[in-house]
């Protein structure tokens, strides 16, 4: 059975250094959809061990009030990732995020460990999801294979910093260097029926630039964005808030399809537009977004 959280709303995923108590004690206050506890790059090499204990007890004790708990594990080329998975799964994480994913085999390797950890720590099979961060040209070109590698994989994310290094360029602020990767990833994700997330934006003081980038990735079809500072969250949520007319339309579509389905009618019109079952998921998503954005007043 598919984990129902696979399709949950993930507009914002906030990075937190798992080793820093001041950061992990109540980040839910900023209301991101997902929290990403980092065991990888944010944690100094000699603190990797301490970060796990910190992560374990934080996840076990702190009520993160509905935020999804994602743990970014160390790269598969290290001797750390396997214990990272045991720790995170035992602690009750919702998602394991694989860094530097390059192949479908990488995903399968993690999947095997996650499954073993679920058994070891008595968690229901399939309760821990996986997402893959793509940080290299090879990973981008293998996106389709990665997206289809595991039933547990709910989505992929672009990691722009490492990817541009691999491309032998750097983040310019214009987005031109990320254009190809963004297009390939979103197309691959949609083709596989999984979600797709954009990279972080690190120029914190440039709110205008951030806004432009979020508007762009929203238009491109991305499900959400990785966040490095809580002040970016409300901007993403604002941009992802559906317009009232779209909400009304989605509401009509859902109601019509629900009632027409019962009558066995496949195609009909809403507000003069031809509608069929293919509109259903999109309309449902719009309602869900509207609810999360606090602008939905209806009863669906």
């Amino acid at each position: 059975m598919m984990n129902p959280d696979k399709k949950r709303l993930r507009r914002t995923m906030m990075f937190l250094n798992a080793q820093k108590p001041s950061l992990i004690k109540d980040p839910y206050i900023y209301k991101p959809d997902s929290l990403m506890f980092d065991l990888e790059d944010a944690v100094a090499e000699n603190q990797k061990d301490a970060a796990r204990f910190s992560l374990y007890h934080a996840l076990r004790t702190i009520d993160y009030r509905g935020c999804e708990k994602v743990v970014r594990i160390n790269g598969l080329d290290t001797d750390l990732w396997k214990e990272d998975i045991r720790c995170a799964v035992a602690a009750g994480c919702d998602v394991i995020r694989i860094s530097k994913t390059e192949t479908g085999a990488d995903v399968k390797a993690v999947e095997a460990r996650v499954e073993a950890a679920e058994k070891e720590f008595g968690r229901p099979e399939g309760s821990v999801l996986i997402m893959a961060a793509i940080e290299s040209c090879k990973g981008v070109l293998n996106a389709q294979e990665i997206c289809g590698a595991s039933e547990r994989l709910f989505g992929i994310a672009l990691s722009g910093g490492d990817y541009t290094k691999d491309l032998q360029t750097s983040i310019s602020g214009t987005g031109v260097e990320l254009m190809g990767a963004r297009q390939i990833l979103i197309i691959a994700a949609r083709a596989a029926g999984v979600q797709c997330f954009d990279t972080v934006y690190t120029d914190l003081d440039n709110e205008e630039g951030f806004r432009r980038e979020v508007e762009m990735i929203h238009t491109m079809g991305f499900d959400g964005k990785s966040i490095v500072n809580p002040r970016q969250i409300h901007i993403v949520h604002e941009i992802y808030t559906p317009a009232q007319k779209d909400i009304f339309f989605a509401e009509k579509v859902v109601r019509e399809i629900d009632s027409k389905k019962a009558q066995g009618i496949g195609v009909f019109t809403v507000d003069g537009k031809m509608i069929d079952i293919a509109f259903y998921d999109g309309a449902k998503r719009t309602i869900e977004l509207a609810k999360a954005s606090g602008v939905y007043k209806g009863d669906l």
């Binding site: 109540d26 206050i29 809580p230």
Partner: protein, 519 residues
């Protein structure tokens, strides 16, 4: 005896101070008394000079002796040099049992510590104490009591004769040789001299100390020559860098911005937010952010403020510069923008008496619609503590907190729910400084609680979509994060009293003692 906020005030302290326990904000409304009058030594002979060449000389001229009460103002804040300068001389003269009556004492005054320890200073009245001074008082090294007073309460104690100032020392950024002084100009510009006004009116001897002597007349004078006995010129009365700092950068801390947002949303949903309203706010990041946000909404809705009060900072002065307020009433300036803004024709200097004294015929605080305050702790009775730290040590100042909270129609306290591991909303504050009857709303990062006494406010904002909680809910959330805190372990000896603005006793502060683990 148990007072109106439920604090047990020891009989011996009531006997020792001759004070009553706190019986509610308006207990003394309509109370009649005769103001005290100072001794005046006339200056008739035009040939006489008021100038003295040194602090020592002026102390002798005033006839300083053991047991006298000396007063100071704190407009130079952490840059003040006057207190240390005078007290060093007092100490060098071998005087004992001096009573300090300062409008506030801070980290600039740590030189007083040995003078407290050796009995030069045996009683302190101040809005607050910080750093090492707070520590030695809490360790029981001050022979007499520390009286923590609000700004209005201090004026009341002076005007009513409870405190008789023998010599008032007024640091003045500019003064002439006849004593006309002003907070404006010179190198130690602090804007206004509000806290010193009552001292000048009621002290037997008034000494002006300046580092910028100007030709007579220094007009307009915030304190007039008619009240001044002596003038001393010294090299430096303050450290300009610490008197008024650059305006605080608007906060980018999202938690503070969220609290500011909650605060502003609350304010604009009350019936008081309408053309002609009045407003005072503090210097914290969230308070300042809230003032900035409010000014934007005022503009959008075409609402104009009648007057703003302060403790002023740049955001309030910006509201004046943008012509969104008719006038500012100023008792203190916290940054260079506020100091500079004193010159604006609709920025008015007021004395601490006019600002907040409950024992005059009506003060500005009584006309406030909103005041935005901070607090170390707030309890489920809405009592606030702004003076005693989590370690039980005296570490803050009452300032205008109890005065404005009592006067304003809507008093809002902003605080993060948890600070370090200390729950800011708790069952009982360590020490009560502002009574819950004065506090209407508590705004935190976890929601807003309205005092149940204010059903009208609850009604007014109930459909505004604010994250409303009860104060008990806020406390429970805080405790669920931090665990339930135990009470600070104090010794027996009372080292200080929290004086209510009307002079009664709100609470006592006991000596700290070393923590001991249970069992």
């Amino acid at each position: 005896m148990i007072n109106a906020v439920g604090r047990d005030i020891p009989e011996e302290i009531l006997r020792l101070t001759g004070k009553e326990v706190f019986q509610g904000n308006n207990h003394f409304d309509g109370y009649e008394y005769r103001r005290q009058a100072p001794k005046v030594k006339c200056v008739i002979d035009p040939e006489k000079s008021k100038l003295r060449s040194s602090i020592r000389e002026v102390l002798e001229a005033c006839g300083i002796k053991d047991g006298m009460t000396l007063s100071f103002h704190h407009h130079f804040r952490e840059g003040d040099k006057i207190v240390n300068m005078v007290m060093k001389e007092v100490h060098d003269m071998g005087l004992k049992d001096i009573r300090l009556c300062a409008s506030s004492l801070g980290k600039a005054h740590e030189a007083l510590v040995p003078m407290i320890e050796d009995g030069t200073i045996t009683e302190i009245r101040s809005s607050g104490v910080r750093g090492e001074i707070g520590k030695v008082i809490s360790e029981g090294k001050l022979k007499g009591l520390a009286y923590m007073q609000s700004h209005g309460g201090r004026v009341r104690s002076i005007v009513s004769g409870e405190v008789k100032i023998d010599i008032a020392f007024i640091g003045a950024p500019t003064a002439d040789d006849y004593g006309n002084c002003s907070g404006i100009g010179g190198t130690s510009d602090c804007g206004v001299l509000s806290y010193a006004a009552a001292d000048a009116d009621y002290a037997d001897n008034v000494v002006v100390i300046t580092d910028h002597l100007v030709p007579f007349p220094n007009m307009p004078a915030q304190i007039s020559m008619t009240k001044v006995d002596y003038v001393v010129q010294v090299d430096q009365i303050g450290d300009p860098a610490k008197i008024a700092t650059g305006a605080a950068k608007p906060t980018s801390d999202v938690r503070k911005l969220m609290m500011a947002d909650n605060c502003t949303s609350f304010v604009i949903n009350t019936p008081y937010f309408k053309d002609g309203f009045s407003y005072q706010t503090g210097v914290g990041g969230a308070s300042i952010a809230s003032a900035v946000a409010l000014s934007k909404i005022m503009k959008e809705r075409g609402i104009r403020m009648r007057f703003g009060v302060g403790g002023l900072t740049k955001p309030m002065c910006d509201i004046l510069n943008n012509d969104q307020v008719d006038c500012l009433l100023d008792t203190q300036d916290f940054d260079l923008d506020a100091v500079e803004n004193v010159k604006h024709p609709r920025h008015f200097y007021i004395s601490a008496d006019e600002y907040a004294n409950p024992f005059n015929k009506g003060a500005v605080v009584n006309r406030l619609d909103f005041v935005i305050l901070a607090s170390l702790e707030v309890d489920v009775h809405f009592n606030c503590n702004v003076v005693v730290g989590s370690d039980g040590v005296l570490t803050g100042a009452q300032g205008g907190h109890p005065d404005t909270a009592a006067g304003a129609k809507c008093s809002i306290v902003i605080t993060p729910l948890v600070q370090g591991r200390i729950p800011a909303v708790c069952t009982d504050v360590t020490t009560v400084t502002t009574p819950g009857e004065s506090v209407d709303v508590v705004v935190t990062d976890y929601g807003i609680a309205i005092n149940p006494r204010r059903q009208d406010l609850m009604e007014a904002v109930k459909d505004a979509g604010l994250p409303l909680r009860t104060i008990e809910e806020l406390r429970d959330i805080a405790y669920s994060i931090t665990g339930e805190p135990k009470k600070v372990q104090f010794g027996d000896r009372v080292v200080g009293i929290i004086e209510s603005r009307d002079g009664t006793i709100m609470d006592v502060v006991r000596e700290v003692k070393e923590f001991s683990f249970a069992e």
